[in-house]
């Protein structure tokens, strides 16, 4: 967090990397111990790779901005397909995050708070979608939930539900890929949280579920928030599992990443424009969340 407002630059330090807040420059408090003075005492073996890492992440984004077709951008952005894809992306990523919360938080609790045979194995399995290529995840979903899938054929036969090529399919594909982020994050927070608070609640007459709902959940809210943001961001950018499981149809299953990929085939300028929209929206949402919600925790 950048809570560095009003910290005067250390007199002995080189020019602060944030460009020097000239307003605070005149205030100097020599000889005061400042544990978090920027730029001071950062060893070069750490500083150089750190800056390289920063550049590595930022230069591609910068290139995207530099090579963006600014002149044709207004035209690109007024096309209804763009907004359709963007709307679908936001709706699906949010739905996938909610679904991940509903089934992922209890799963994280189970992994962190109970002991059952094979728990280590289950944990490893939960993280599997993290390493699985998303396209393979999409194929796996087809094999499981497709019209002809292991579970899907019964969904089709009993309820007439088919999931591939539907918006629900997009949400499921994104959930499959994004939920592990939430589970891992929440499980870590749960492990760090003191389980004795739950015991204290129990001795006050709370059932284990009430203890979870009224004590544990508020305690791990920061971890849940962080996990949700991770999962949401992952779902928003999801491509492989989505296109494999849910296909690509404008307005129904064509999310932004799919639109970007297909535009890239014959119109790179359009692809860049779409990417910029996605980038801007996700930055706006994440910044907004941090201001309103993450800071209070």
């Amino acid at each position: 967090m950048t809570g560095r407002h009003g910290t005067p630059p250390d007199p002995g330090a080189p020019a602060p990397p944030d460009g020097g807040r000239s307003g605070t420059r005149t205030v100097r408090a020599p000889r005061t111990a400042r544990p978090r003075t920027p730029g001071r005492g950062v060893p070069l073996p750490l500083l150089a790779p750190a800056l390289l890492g920063l550049a590595f992440l930022l230069v591609p984004l910068l290139a995207l901005l530099l090579r963006a077709p600014w002149r044709s951008l207004p035209e690109q952005l007024t096309s209804p397909e763009v907004w359709q894809a963007l709307r679908l992306s936001l709706v699906c990523a949010t739905a996938a995050t909610v679904l991940s919360l509903v089934i992922g938080v209890p799963l994280a609790w189970l992994l962190a708070r109970t002991d059952f045979p094979g728990r280590g194995l289950v944990r490893a399995l939960v993280t599997l979608p993290l390493v699985l290529p998303p396209v393979v995840g999409g194929v796996a979903l087809l094999l499981a939930l497709g019209r002809n899938g292991v579970v899907g054929q019964w969904l089709d036969a009993w309820f007439g539900i088919t999931l591939p090529f539907t918006t629900t399919g997009v949400v499921l594909a994104e959930t499959f890929v994004a939920m592990p982020f939430l589970v891992i994050s929440v499980e870590g927070t749960l492990r760090a949280a003191d389980p004795r608070y739950e015991e204290a609640a129990t001795t006050l007459g709370a059932s284990r579920f009430t203890a979870f709902r009224r004590v544990t959940l508020p305690l791990i809210a920061p971890g849940i928030a962080a996990g949700s943001v991770l999962a949401w961001a992952r779902a928003l950018g999801e491509f492989g599992a989505t296109i494999t499981f849910a296909g690509n149809f404008p307005g129904r299953t064509q999310t932004m990443p799919l639109a970007v990929y297909l535009a890239l085939q014959n119109d790179p300028a359009a692809a860049i424009a779409l990417s910029l929209v996605l980038l801007a929206v996700s930055i706006a949402v994440l910044a907004g969340l941090r201001d309103r919600w993450m800071r209070t925790v």
């Binding site: 204290a200 006050l204 007459g205 059932s207 009430t210 004590v215 305690l219």
Partner: protein, 365 residues
């Protein structure tokens, strides 16, 4: 007082009726190499302290009473009701945890209202009750504060109010004063003593501090290595320690031996003259302050208890110096700083130690 001394085996000893008021428990918990096996009984209004060194099983006993650790064997009856298989949330038991475990996201008021809410009281009513409890604890103005803004003593009182707000028939306190600094401890101890004295049901507290135990409890149960080694009133235990641990806690030199008239032959070798007239296995105890040290063998001394020792260590003890001695009889002796200087005491120095028979105390083992 419905005393149930000794261990009552048999898981379903049925003796309800009027005598069943209060706590009647035998707690057996197996944990790998450690085994806790203690029997506890107490009448309503009793305050029992479980006293023992770290790792003795006190906290395990407390958790077993609360239902947080399952019993391997034994029974737990409270006011005649068998609670052995009752889940913790349904036991009429309140717990004040060692570091209080106030819910950090709730205000003091909502912390106290938590119990009544969980037991079915409406929100407004629960909060009204909680406000009343906080008022009784002198914390009315802190009702809206989050736990991190409370001092240690205040947090302890909120924890006590939270535990009492469910009207428990058994109140458990785990090291209730351990988290406090020495200054607040004195005041909080006195306050806690008043609240415990006013509590009409059974209270069991766990502590490793003998002073806390003696000030707060009517009865002490000393636990070592999972077993009860001694129980009784604080004064009884202070006067008649039966283990080295208790003797150290209450500050006495303690020896075991065979009594024959006014003489006790100690298992360690030497004999001690006492004023009591006993026979058979006995304990002899005397305070470190009763010991007098000499550099040369005293000739005119009337003391018949005279041992040749050597200084093993010296350390300040209050405004005095405590000398740890080895030799014929290992013992602790207190002497003034001036005396220590005049005797030129240092580790390794040979000394003669004497104790008057009138200052020893012998009792059957």
């Amino acid at each position: 007082m419905p005393k149930n001394p000794g261990k009552r085996p048999g898981p379903t000893g049925t003796a309800p009726g009027p005598a069943a008021e209060g706590l009647d428990a035998r707690l057996v918990v197996d944990r790998g190499t450690f085994r806790l096996d203690i029997a506890l009984t107490a009448a309503p209004g009793d305050v029992v302290a479980l006293l023992g060194p770290n790792g003795a099983g006190k906290t395990t006993a407390l958790r077993a009473l609360a239902g947080l650790t399952p019993l391997t064997a034994g029974h737990l009856r409270l006011d005649g009701a068998e609670l052995h298989r009752t889940p913790p949330e349904s036991r009429p038991i309140g717990v004040v945890f060692q570091d209080y475990l106030l819910f950090p996201h709730l205000t003091a008021l909502d912390n106290v209202a938590f119990g009544p809410r969980c037991r079915g009281t409406g929100k407004a009513e629960a909060r009204a009750q909680a406000a009343e409890w906080l008022d009784r604890m002198g914390l009315a103005e802190h009702a809206g504060a989050k736990p991190r803004r409370l001092s240690g003593g205040q947090a302890q009182r909120v924890a006590l109010a939270r535990a009492l707000a469910t009207h428990p028939r058994l109140l458990l306190l785990d090291e209730p004063l351990a988290a406090l600094d020495a200054r607040t401890r004195l005041e909080v101890r006195a306050r806690l003593r008043r609240h415990l004295a006013a509590f009409e049901a059974v209270a069991v507290l766990v502590t490793h501090d003998p002073l806390d135990a003696m000030v707060l409890a009517d009865r002490l149960v000393v636990v070592e290595q999972g077993r009860i080694v001694q129980e009784g009133t604080p004064s009884d235990i202070a006067r008649h320690p039966r283990t080295e641990y208790i003797a150290q806690l209450v500050g006495l030199n303690l020896y075991r031996g065979q009594a024959d008239g006014h003489t006790v032959r100690l298992d360690a070798g030497p004999t001690v003259s006492t004023t009591e007239d006993l026979s058979g296995p006995a304990f002899v105890a005397f305070p470190p302050g009763a010991v007098t040290l000499y550099r040369d063998r005293p000739t005119g001394s009337s003391a018949r208890n005279l041992w040749r020792c050597e200084i093993a260590g010296l350390e300040p003890h209050g405004d005095q110096v405590r000398a740890e001695l080895t030799g014929e009889l290992p013992l602790a002796a207190d002497l003034t700083t001036v005396a220590a200087a005049e005797l030129d005491l240092h580790p390794g120095a040979p000394v003669w130690a004497t104790v008057k028979a009138a200052q020893t105390h012998a009792y059957p083992a």
